[in-house]
Symmetry: C2
Subunit: 340 residues, 2 copies
């Protein structure tokens, strides 16, 4: 293990491409940073679809949508979810009609769900629809769903098995989680070309965004072939901790770790990614406790909070710089720290 | 034929019920008048569903919706269609996504289409869904779709056969119409209980609202059993002319009459309804030309324009009064004009 606590980021201009695995809000922040510092077209974001669900007859893909809105400059930076300049007439009228209002669908956001649902019913794939949406909204990255088959994150709680949105939104992540499953994962296939992309020679870095491991990253890894593609990839794998000084930046990550019998620490995150990643980037306060946790993992200290746009870009540059200092050779990791 | 040009309306309090056949905007005006002057629960409006279509994967029922919005006080009185206080964020976002924007779906209006589509896919009937919507929005009448099976008004134009909304909205009723068909009508069934309701002893009047005969009233009559139920009904049938002094109040009615080789006159409307109705209410200017057109039809002169709410109520009272002066006996019409 080696540690780089040098705050200075060398200027990185990858010749090739970068693949990032991301859930919603936290992951999208780093994805935006990566998009902004990489050449146009260099970034592919693999989106978790384990949170997808059918609601009011519409196919909702929350993580894809958060990524699309964030990467196209349409996200609501204040609320942290949904679209900027959103209006809520539909929800009011839905309430008048006695419809289900526990999941908030903004008027602008609805257009995405309506178009996606229509095209899925016509037989188009989620990949193709998402690619068209990205092109139409001038997203500067390719957003690729992990699979075109349904994989649904489900949580066993003290009150029984719950669908993800029931747990997360309707019950506001209050139930105690005992077990997590990715229903349908066994028979799902990675989106066309995804594994080939990940394992391709022209990929400079594979980035695991600071998303919740259990409900954002591991559903992606549960799609048969994805983990193996990452393990066999030529590119170094860099993960960013979603936990800072024992607290999740957002959402129920910390609570979920504890309920599943683990400490809510960056070290616990690193342990989950052991064997998969080569670089782990965490808050400087978390670095001492990480020493010795993951053998062969390079630790990098950085501000992973990403409150401002500048912080997102700075972290993205740090991720790319760390990847640029690592060379993988036939399964062995050769650290080139300090060699550049 | 007898003519009543007496403008004074006796106070009518029907003991029983009233059934009105209606298309969208023009018909809904009279339906609102009827709802306001009748006791609560006395009015059933049979809605044309020939204009229904699937758009963006959503089932849109324009005439049902116009009736629901009008009878629940939610209609846009200025635009003449859609909901009051409507917002258009969805359409803007849809345009950004490159979606079809030729048919305007307001944000509030969308709630209706989403709920209806979801429930139809779940196996509920359009009747049941519409009944729940009416109850939820405090509509003071029963709105009943003419059929729960699809009947689709299609128009043969110089450019070929067109679906109704393609003709009416996308092409703004510009193509010359040569023929009209109600696809699916032969195999459609009237909504459950509709014919029994129409023919019931407790019905005091059957009202043909001032809607376009070709595209609003005749699709209803084309559903097998509906015309026969009206013909065999105990209640008198009162129609209101949608044409005033040679001009349609709204929409392409006059143009359509001419293209189909008929004069755009109240007399042409009366001819189409001959054999079905007992009372025809038209603008005083049109009455002279109506004398002798329909044998056994009582002519009533009235302001059928209905610009104000008061005019709608006044016309509704006139419709009910005219019905109250007619007694049908085994197919023969006995005019009781002046007997009350």
């Amino acid at each position: 293990m080696s540690t780089n606590t040098d705050g200075a980021s060398p200027q990185i201009s990858p010749a090739g491409k970068v693949v990032a695995l991301s859930g919603g809000i936290g992951g999208a922040k780093l994805a935006l940073g990566l998009q902004r510092v990489l050449p146009s077209g260099a970034l592919t974001v693999v989106a978790n679809t384990g949170d997808d669900f059918e609601h009011l007859g519409l196919h909702v893909s929350p993580d894809i949508d958060t990524l699309v809105y964030t990467l196209s400059g349409r996200s609501n930076m204040v609320a942290g979810w949904g679209r900027a300049d959103e209006t809520w007439s539909f929800m009011q009228a839905l309430e008048d009609l006695g419809g289900e209002t526990w999941f908030k669908l903004g008027d602008r956001d609805l257009a995405m769900h309506v178009v996606r649902t229509m095209r899925l019913r016509q037989g188009d794939t989620l990949s193709a629809i998402t690619a068209d949406v990205c092109a139409g909204l001038n997203v500067g990255a390719d957003i690729v769903p992990m699979s075109n088959q349904p994989v649904r994150t489900r949580l066993r709680t003290d009150g029984g098995w719950l669908d993800f949105q029931d747990y997360f939104v309707a019950q506001q992540a209050r139930p105690v989680v005992r077990e997590i499953a990715y229903a349908g994962a066994e028979s799902a296939r990675p989106a066309d070309g995804l594994c080939e992309l990940i394992a391709g020679d022209d990929i400079d870095a594979i980035v695991v965004c600071p998303s919740n491991p259990f409900i954002s990253v591991e559903p992606i890894l549960a799609v048969p072939g994805v983990r193996a593609a990452i393990e066999s990839a030529a590119a170094p794998v860099v993960a960013v901790s979603p936990i800072i000084a024992g607290k999740a930046v957002k959402g129920p990550t910390a609570k979920m770790f504890e309920e599943l019998g683990q400490e809510a620490t960056a070290a616990a995150v690193l342990e989950r990614y052991a064997g998969l990643i080569h670089v782990f980037i965490a808050d400087p306060r978390d670095i001492p406790a990480l020493e010795g946790v993951g053998s062969d993992v390079t630790l990098v200290a950085a501000n992973v909070m990403m409150t401002t746009l500048e912080e997102r870009e700075r972290l993205a540059r740090k991720v790319l710089a760390a990847a640029g200092r690592v060379v993988r050779n036939e399964g062995d990791l050769c650290s080139r720290l300090g060699s550049s």
